[in-house]
Every structure is written in C-alpha cells, then in structure tokens.
Amino acid sequence: MIPELMIALSVGAALFGVGLYGALSQTNLVMIIMGVELILAAALLNLVAFWRYLHPDVTAAKMFVLIVMAVMAVEMAVGFGIAIARFRSRGSVEMEEARELKG
C-alpha cells in the first residue's frame, strides 16, 4: 500500500473518465481532441507515478513519458490537419454530421 501512488493513480483514473466522457459526448472535432488529450494526460500521470513509486531507478520508464508526449503532439497535429481539411470541404467540424463517412 503506497498512498501517494494511490492518489496519483486515482487522479489518473478520474482524468481518464472525464476525458472519455468528453471524447464521446462532444460533437466538435476539436473538443474531441481535447478529450483525447485528457486521456493521454492520465496515461502520462500513471507512467510517472509508476516510475516514481515502483521503479525510480529505471530511467527507461521516462522514455515512455516522452513517447506519450510525442504521441500527444502527433495526435494534435494530425487531428488539426483533418479538421482543416474537413472544414474546407464541409464548412464545419461538427462530427455529428460525419456519419456519412461510414458509407
């Protein structure tokens, strides 16, 4: 039982929950990206917490954090690229209307 670890992981879980809610409930692509960012932040938090309270001697753990940060940046770049392209063709980034994509 490590209280700090529990706190950090619980915060991570809560952020994950909020992020999931946001990503699912929002109709706007940019807001969905925000939800995904929160989920990734929760992952970051867990990684750092595990590193700190379980294996502080393993530096490789921090590499995961850096990679996740890179993923966040990539996700944003690609997401916004899609947003611009979609906005250009549809004049909106409302995903409610993206249903026709499935055709």
């Binding site: 611009i84 250009r88 549809r90 004049g91 909106s92 409302e94 409610e96 209307e97 249903r99 055709g103």
Partner: protein, 710 residues
C-alpha cells in the same frame, strides 16, 4: 477654480492629491483630428513635450487642434466617452465642439497657445482631477433607441411593434443609434464601453430568434419550402435514382435513405455549402417530428420547445427549410464561398435584406465588429502562417468575417479618413471608405475671404489652395501678376510640397514604429513650413541627410517593397512613382523657366512612393533655390463678372478649381482634388492584404480626406 469637465468622483485629499499631481505632470494626449493636421497647422507637439496616446483609453487629454467638421465633432464625442477619467479637453483655435462638453482650456491656434494651454491644463488637473459631484457624459452618437422593422421590407420602420403594412409579417425590433446617421463616425474600432452591444450575444440571440420565429409564423407560404408532410418516399442522398417507400439503406452505397422532400430540398440548396454555419442537415432517416430547429435540421421533436444544441425555438417542420434560410441569410459576416453566393439568396432575400439593415445599423452604432447574430461571436484569428503566400479567402477556408471601423482618428491612417475594413482574420477581405463630410465652400463672399476659407478647409495644403484660388481668380478677372511674383508664389507652393512630404514621412514613420525618424521629420517640417527662401536653403543639407536616413533605414526596403503596387493611378506622386510622368507643373511657363522636369520611378509600390517623394523634396529645394524668393499668393481685387479655371500640382497631385464671379463676389465654385480618384483605388489595392500591410499601403498613398467633398 473651475471644475474639470472630466473629473473623477471623490475629494482631493492626501493620496489623491499626489495622484492628481502625477497626472498633471503625465499628460497623454489623444490628438484630434490627428498629428498630420496638427503639424500642418503649425503645432510642434514634441517641442511642447506632449506625449501622444495611440488610443483614447490611454489618454487623459483630448487635444483638439483646430476646427472640426460636424461629423468629426460627433466622432470626437465618442472618443471623449472612451477616455478614462480624469480627462480634460484642450481646444486650440475657434472650435465648435458639437456634442462635446465645453473645453476645459481654450487657447489660440499656435505653438505658444499650445504651451500655455498645457500649463493651464496642468494647473486644472492638479486642483480639479477629483471632484465630489460629477455628471456622466453620454455621447449622443452612442445612445440607442429601439425601432421595429419588417424582416422582408427593410424600408418599413416603425417605433411601435406591429405588422408590416406590405406583407403583414410581424415587425422585428432592432437598436439604432439615437443621433442622426452621421453620429456614428467615431469609435475608431475601439469597441469601448459602448461598442459592445452586439456582443450581448445571449440577449441578442433570444431577440433574433424570437424575431425570426415570428417571421416564420407569418411565412407559411414560404416559396422554396417543400413540405415534409409530402415526403412518403425515401431516396439515397448520393444516388437519386434509388427510391423506396420505406426507410432503409441504399443498395448501392449503404447510406441511410432520406425522405424525398428533404433530399430534394438539399440538392436544391447546394447540399453542403449552404448554411452559413456549415450546419448542413444530416441526411439520415431519423424519426421526424413536426417540430425542428431552424439551425439544426437534424433536431426534431414531437412537441414545441427549444433546440438542445442552440436553444432556439423549434419551428414546425414544414417551415424548416425556409427557416434555415433565414438563418443563412442572417450570417452576413460569414465568408461566402462562390458556391454559397451562387445559391445563397434564392429563398431568403428578405432575410438578407433584414440582416444587411442590421449590419448597417451596427456600423452606425459603432460596434461594427459585433453583429448580433445568434450564436456567433465575431471573433477570429490570424491565419497568416497557414495561408501565407496564398490568397486568403479563396483558399477555401470559410472563416468568419468582421467589419471593423478604422478611423477617423486612427493613429495609423490619415486623420479624418474613415474606413470600414472587413477583416478575415488578420487580412483584409474588403474595404469601404466613408467620405468625410467637410464643410461646403462658402459662396457669395469676397475673393480674399474665399481664398482664406479654402485654405482653412484644406488644412494639409493651405498655400497650394490659396495659389489655386489666386490663379482661378486671375483667370476670371483677366489680371496677371508680374513674373517675379509668379515665381515667388511657385516657390511658396514648392516649400509647401517639401513640408507636406515631410509631414507624410513623419506619419509613415510613426505608423512603422520609427518614433525618432518621425520626430525628426516633423521637426524639420516645422522649420520649413514658414521659412524664407534663404532659410530653406540653410536647411537643405539637413533635409537631404534626413531623406538619406529615411531611404536607407535597414528593413525599410523589406517593409515597403511590393506593398500597395498601383499602376492605375493617373496623376500625382502616386502615378509618378509608377512611371507616369504626368505633372501639372510640366508645361507651366513659370516652372519651365525654373528648369522643371518631372521625376518618375518605375515600381509603383510603397517604396517607390517613398523614393519619389524624397526625390520631389530634393527637386523642390532646387526649384526654391532657383526662384530665390518666396511669396504667399495675394488675391487680386475683383470687379465685375467672370468665370475662371485653374489647375495646380498640389503636393498630392493636380487640383482643379472652377470659380464664377458675380459682381466681384464668388458666386459658385467647384474643386476637384486627387483624393476621390486615389481613394477609389483603395478597396482593390488592399484586398487580401495583411492588416499591417494594408495600413502601410494606405498611408503610402498620402490621402487627404479634407479635400474630399468641396
């Protein structure tokens, strides 16, 4: 001790006394009509130690440099309303302040008057910055009243709610400025205290939505609307040939079939591009209730209520199409792609008209940047890094456009120039110049008075105007002056050309953030404006070195080159900078004897204009040296009737004056100046330019709105 008109509430005690003392020492002036006019009227603001504020928000002195036309006085009252208290007014010369409160200090229109006026102001501020009983100032141009207008017939306006006499629709309310239509000039795009009505989006939203709901209720006959009740068959949005009597998916592409009427209507509306918002209907066969949201056609309900997405009232389904159109029509501030333009107005002309009236009203009330469109904030962003090197709007990104008023007191524009720029992010999508209503020229006055009033009306080039009046009068009366007088008068015009170009240079430098260069040019302008021929000769070397500095300033080239290239101008320095050697001085006998030859540049951009004006300054120095003496034109004595016409190359280009004499008095006049022709180029010139570049381009033209409507 007289109270300060703009004192702050409270008594002057202890700490406040200290603060008032600091305020008295830290005078920050907002100059009206502008620094160029102040310079031209002989005020050296730097020498008086006055610090200028770029916005009324940062100023505590409203410096009124000379007489103002009525429209500008109204605009000045708006500026006054935007200034934080304690504030005060210093009026120089005989000024009709219009709606402004009485000036705290008035002084004569001269440098000495300015300095003594500032001293008086300091005393006043020290003692009266805080007063126990102050009154509010309300600029009449900002007060508003509610009036009612028909959404279909904008010309129908009523003070009472009711029905339109033409179509029977319910009238929609809107706010208008309380003052007459000229009362809006001010604001300068500072949506200050008063500039935000349109942003009360919530309120505006409710209002507009109820308004359009009313409109819709009376709109059952809406033409382009196909009733949803009629939709018994279903069709694929992609494959119109696929139809079915029951909902389902398309056998070709698997998409959900949509009710026929809806699909048909969509095709009719250009399918994707039609909503200003980009909220096009979802082609899905959800259970459709009788009520739907005008903005979100996918929202349907069995009961009346409000839309869960935007809160607008739901309307009966049959009207949804028409309603969506009125929604579209109301989005004037959205960019319209050509596709949208193509189909935009087919059903909702009325709504368009209404919204146009609305935006017009916003312009008037001064919050042009704030259309009260439901759900739309007039906010925007810079797209420079994404769209650099491309035409901004044609790139297909449909952005929100806003109309932002610039002027008439905008620090980066010629004073008095009032423009409305439609901004697409940081770039200019369109521009409109609102002319300045200058006072009409007097008629029925003696010739000498006429010359003086003409010179007063065009304060940026009074000597040239006087000379023009002189020449026209000479043509009318058939008199001629001796040759040496003519030469001396030409030298006076040349001296003014030097001063005018230096004044322009000072303005350009201020706009570009080159404060020291601007100060130097303004100081030089003051030395030259009233100098005698030998004094001008003494200044020649320092003027030349100033021009050298201005031309060779690092980064000046990159800033100006390629900006505002204009080949279409036909006259004046702008045309000469583009290689047209048109100059009214060419072929003029007086100038020919002085050895005048027109100078031209090739590129026609802002840098070429800078080079051109610098070259003209040098040329004028030579001409003055050649002439040897300077004499202010004196009007000939007039007797009898006659008609005279004269053309003169003013510092901004040729001006032509027609003059009719009756019984020795001026009975009618007509003045043509280069302003109108140049200003007509501006909208095309600055289209798709970055805002800063557009302002540089406008500044490089050296417009003189004061000579606009004589």
């Amino acid at each position: 001790m007289m109270d300060l008109s703009g004192a702050r509430q409270g008594l002057l005690r202890g700490f406040r006394g200290l603060v008032a003392g600091a305020m008295a020492r830290d005078l920050r002036a907002f100059v009206i009509p502008g620094e160029d006019i102040a310079n031209a009227r002989g005020l050296d603001l730097d020498a008086a130690g006055l610090i200028r504020a770029v916005t009324p928000r940062h100023a505590n002195v409203l410096l009124i440099a000379g007489p103002l036309p009525t429209a500008l006085a109204d605009a000045a009252s708006v500026v006054w309303a935007q200034m934080p208290r304690p504030r005060c007014i210093l009026a120089l010369g005989e000024v009709d302040l219009g709606p402004l409160p009485t000036a705290d200090v008035t002084a004569e229109m001269s440098q000495a008057g300015l300095i003594s006026g500032l001293e008086d102001l300091r005393k006043l501020l020290r003692n009266g910055a805080f007063a126990p009983d102050i009154t509010e100032f309300d600029a009449p141009a900002l007060s508003e009243r509610i009036e009612y207008t028909c959404p279909m017939h904008p010309e129908v306006v009523s003070d009472e709610p009711g029905k339109c006499p033409k179509c029977g629709m319910f009238l929609v309310e809107r706010r208008v400025s309380g003052a007459a239509s000229h009362g809006h000039e001010g604001h300068e795009g500072h949506e200050g205290h008063e500039g935000h009505e349109g942003h009360e989006g919530h309120e505006g939203h409710e209002k507009s939505s109820t308004g359009s709901t009313q409109a819709e209720k009376a709109h059952h006959h809406a033409d382009a609307v196909t009733s949803a009740e009629a939709s018994t068959s279903y069709v694929c949005p992609m494959h119109p040939e696929v139809t079915s009597d029951t909902p389902g998916s398309c056998p070709k592409c698997g998409m959900d079939l949509v009710p026929q009427a809806e699909a048909g209507e969509h095709a009719h509306q250009g399918h994707h591009a039609h909503h200003g918002h980009g909220h096009h209907a979802k082609p899905a066969s959800e259970p459709t209730g009788p009520y739907t949201c005008p903005m979100h056609p996918e929202v349907t309900s069995e009961t009346p209520g409000s839309c869960p997405k935007c809160g607008m009232d739901l309307v009966p389904q049959a009207e949804a199409g028409g309603h969506a159109h009125s929604g579209h029509g109301s989005h004037k501030h959205h960019a319209h792609t050509p596709a949208q333009e193509g189909q935009g107005g087919h059903a909702a002309h009325g709504a368009h008209g209404q919204q146009d009236a609305h935006s017009e009203h916003h312009g008037h009330a001064g919050h042009g940047a704030a259309p009260d469109i439901p759900g739309i904030e007039p906010h925007f962003m810079s797209m420079v890094e994404l769209t650099e090197g491309k035409p901004v709007s044609p790139d297909g990104l449909v952005m929100e456009w806003i109309d932002a008023p610039f002027g008439p007191f905008f620090p980066g524009l010629p004073s008095g120039l009032h423009m409305v720029l439609t901004l697409d992010g940081d770039s200019v999508a369109g521009a409109e110049i609102r002319g300045m209503e200058a006072a009409a020229l007097p008629s029925g006055v003696a010739l000498e008075d006429f010359a003086a009033s003409l010179a007063d009306a065009v304060p940026l080039s009074p000597v040239a105007m006087r000379e023009l009046a002189c020449r026209a009068a000479e043509a009318a009366t058939g008199q001629t002056a001796p040759k040496d007088v003519l030469t001396a008068r030409a030298a006076a015009v040349e001296r003014e050309r030097i001063a005018s170009h230096l004044n322009w240079l000072a303005g350009l430098a201020r706009q570009a953030g080159l404060a020291p260069l601007g100060r130097r040019a303004a100081a030089m302008e003051h030395r030259v404006r009233t100098a005698k021929a030998d004094e001008v000769a003494e200044q020649a070397t320092s003027i030349t070195s100033l021009l050298h500095v201005a031309l060779n300033r690092s980064l000046m080239g990159p800033k100006l080159t390629g900006i505002g290239t204009l080949q279409g101008a036909s006259e004046g320095p702008v045309a000469r900078a583009a290689g047209h050697a048109s100059d009214a001085r060419h072929g003029d006998g007086v100038y020919d004897e002085l050895g005048f030859e027109p100078i031209t540049q090739d590129e026609g951009d802002a840098m070429a204009r800078l080079r051109q004006r610098c070259a003209e300054i040098a040329q004028s120095l030579d001409l003055i040296a050649e002439a040897g003496a300077i004499a202010i034109p004196v009007m000939p004595r007039a007797k009898g009737d006659g008609h005279g016409m004269a053309t003169l190359e003013t510092p901004r280009g040729p001006a032509t004056l027609h003059l009719t004499l009756k019984g020795g008095m001026v009975s009618s006049t007509h003045l043509t100046t280069p302003f109108a022709a140049l200003a007509a180029h501006v909208p095309d010139l600055i289209k798709q330019m970055e805002l800063a570049d557009a302002l540089t381009a406008i500044a490089s033209l050296d417009l003189d709105p004061w000579s606009a409507s004589q």
